[in-house]
């Protein structure tokens, strides 16, 4: 099996559920308040879903669970029909590395490394030869318009450029599921439009995209726009109070 084949094992027809969250909640401390309360969410293959909600309503935590960065405290999470709670770390890591790309709320780059190095992290663990790692990373940087800045240390880039490098890193591994936590927050309108346009084009290539954003443009292109209160019972309670 080549790496490309491994990267696309989800060839189900659009509309079939890819993400199925059932009563998922997360508590960071054992007895503390729930960071995410009782979420039910289903996202189909090939959907572009935007998610909005007030601060601290658990949007980022929800994305962490979907991105397999966090194991939910309760509830079940089926990804492409597999119960992720039953997967071993090695398998969850394989899914993270090969199927899922994440854009975090902050860029989360290695400041002492070049833009190219940062993007190459996404393909470092695919075991590809160095040249193919580089070409994949360069392609991704090119898509966010930063190919010319590839050798600049990310610590010296502007906040907007850093965010675009983070997007490039998320897409470099050619993931089938893209999770973005407010990717346009630090960008001006023109760049935000460019990033949203990039995400929409990735969606049109057949990827499933889940974006936490209030951006109207993204919502306009989305197949569904959800709010946290629509998916989380805890958020509903918060909204009532």
């Amino acid at each position: 099996m080549t790496a490309e084949q491994a990267a696309r094992p989800l060839p189900r027809p659009p509309g079939e559920p890819l993400i199925e969250l059932c009563d998922v909640s997360v508590r960071y401390q054992g007895a503390g308040p729930a960071a995410l309360g009782a979420v039910d969410l289903t996202v189909g293959h090939g959907e572009l879903v935007t998610l909005a909600g007030p601060a601290r309503s658990g949007k980022s935590t929800l994305l962490s669970v979907v991105g397999l960065l966090l194991r939910p405290t309760t509830g079940s999470y089926l990804l492409n029909g597999f119960d992720t709670g039953a997967l071993r770390d090695r398998e969850r890591t394989a899914l993270r590395g090969r199927q899922i790309g994440c854009v975090f709320q902050r860029p989360r780059l290695l400041p002492s490394r070049s833009a190219l190095d940062n993007v190459m992290l996404a393909v470092l663990y695919a075991g590809l030869p160095r040249q193919r790692q580089e070409s994949a990373a360069l392609d991704a940087l090119d898509r966010v318009g930063l190919a010319a800045r590839r050798n600049v240390l990310t610590g010296q880039l502007s906040a907007a450029e850093q965010q675009r490098v983070a997007v490039a890193r998320a897409v470099a591994g050619d993931p089938s599921l893209l999770l973005c936590d407010d990717p346009t927050a630090s960008l001006d309108e023109a760049l935000a439009t460019q990033i949203i346009g990039l995400l929409v084009s990735l969606h049109r290539e057949g990827r499933t995209v889940l974006i936490v954003t209030r951006d109207q443009l993204a919502a306009a292109y989305s197949s569904r726009s959800l709010t946290m209160s629509a998916v989380s019972s805890a958020a509903r309670q918060d909204a009532v109070q």
Partner: protein
């Protein structure tokens, strides 16, 4: 089954792991230097210590070899088959000196005599002969009166030794007055003798110009020289030496007397003693080499091993201690660095690094730091050995086997140091990429 459908596990090429480690190290060179300083010093100490031990032992061995390890003695084995009447051929010196590594060799034995060594009473005045008293006459001119052993000045304790010319050379005999035994005198059993300086003094012989005669068990011998020095047989200074041929002619071959053990003394070049000792019996008597016992006095090798063994174990102990300190310094810096970089490890986990990949990253980094420290330390150690040896005008001796593994020892220390911090780093959860940890 699930695994196969979920997808191929992520991989990390070792070249990438090493490349990442180098990049991380290059990003903070000052920190890398300080981290590897401990290993550097440890390895430098190791190499210096071992180099100094080998250099010093080179010095020790040349010192001892000059004095002790160049003398071989051969005598008849006390046990075994009854020895031949006189086991040494007439040309024993020539046979032995033909061996490579032999400087000189010759037979000697102590002559057991009935009578003492005296200066003839005729030459003295009232029992108080003056030394160097003028006295005309040829060696045989003044035949002493037999049966008057006490007539002259008795000199107790003078040992009479039958010595071949080869023995004189092997013992390092130097004659200050007169001359040594000539080949002619040896060949013709001339009744001549050499007196050791102490023996000459006791006999009252201080001047040999006028050919003083002494009586050895009533046999007159002309003193032709006084021995001032016998570098390797100082006891000869208290002895009277006459040619072996003369001793045989006067008193018979040594085997006919109880207690006389004809012995061959061989002077070898430094380092040749052991080999010469093995070859000598065959050179002397190819037919019966087993009748001899050979003594190689001091094995310089063994002595050196004893000396260097003590030094080496001391230096080794100190080397281990400093290497352990170096390991701990890498370990502690790596531990702190892992704390600092937990967000990075979380991020790597988030983009597909498995726990073992994180461990590999940390260990590769600390191993490279150890390797760098080891390389620099080995170079520093070699330089130190050369400088110290030069300052003492010694020849620096550095065994490649102590220098070449030194960088590897540094790398091994690095691997060891990275182990525990690496395990800690591998436990970082992927959610740390977001700067938050899940419930424990």
């Amino acid at each position: 089954m699930i695994r196969r459908r979920v997808g191929q596990a992520t991989r990390l090429r070792s070249a990438d792991a090493i490349g990442e480690a180098f990049t991380a190290i290059a990003a903070r060179p000052a920190r890398a230097f300080l981290t590897s300083l401990g290993t550097l010093l440890g390895v430098a100490w190791f190499v210096t210590a071992l180099g100094l031990v080998s250099t010093a032992s080179g010095q020790v061995s040349t010192t001892f070899a000059g004095r002790l390890a160049t003398q071989v003695t051969v005598r008849l084995a006390s046990t075994g088959p009854s020895p031949a009447a006189y086991p040494y051929p007439a040309d024993v010196s020539r046979r032995l000196e033909a061996l490579n590594g032999v400087v000189a060799a010759g037979v000697y034995w102590q002559v057991k005599l009935a009578g003492p060594v005296v200066v003839p009473a005729a030459s003295g005045t009232g029992g108080q002969p003056r030394a160097g008293q003028p006295r005309a006459g040829q060696p045989r001119a003044g035949q002493p009166r037999a049966g008057q052993p006490g007539a002259g000045r008795g000199a107790a304790g003078q040992v009479v030794i039958a010595a071949s010319r080869g023995f004189l050379a092997a013992a390092g005999v130097q004659v200050s007055q007169g001359r040594t035994v000539s080949a002619w005198a040896q060949a013709h059993a001339a009744q001549v003798c050499l007196a050791g300086s102490a023996a000459a003094k006791a006999l009252g012989v201080t001047d040999v110009q006028n050919q003083p005669v002494i009586l050895i068990s009533n046999e007159p011998c002309v003193v032709i020289g006084i021995i001032s020095h016998a570098a390797r047989r100082p006891a000869l200074l208290r002895s009277v030496l006459l040619p072996t041929t003369t001793a045989v002619a006067l008193w018979g071959a040594p085997d006919q007397q109880a207690g006389a053990t004809p012995t061959v003394l061989i002077q070898t070049r430094p380092g040749a003693a052991a080999v010469v000792g093995r070859q000598a019996p065959y050179a002397i008597s190819p037919a019966r080499p087993d009748q001899f016992s050979v003594i190689v006095p001091v094995r310089s090798q063994r002595l050196r091993d004893q000396v260097t063994g003590t030094l080496t174990s001391l230096f080794f102990a100190l080397g281990w201690v400093s290497l352990a300190i170096g390991t701990l310094s890498i370990a502690s810096v790596t531990w702190l660095s892992v704390r600092e970089r937990s967000a990075e490890y979380g991020l790597r986990r988030a983009v597909g690094a498995r726990r073992r990949h994180i461990l590999a990253h940390v260990i590769a980094e600390s191993a490279i730091l150890g390797l760098i420290g080891g390389l620099a330390g080995a170079s520093l150690g070699v330089a130190a050995v050369i400088l110290l040896a030069r300052s003492r005008q010694w020849v620096p001796v550095i065994a490649p086997l102590t220098v070449l593994p030194a960088p590897l020892a540094g790398a091994a220390a690095g691997v060891l140091a990275g182990l525990i911090p690496g395990i800690r780093a591998a436990r970082v959860q992927p959610a740390m990429a977001l700067g938050r940890a899940p419930a424990p």
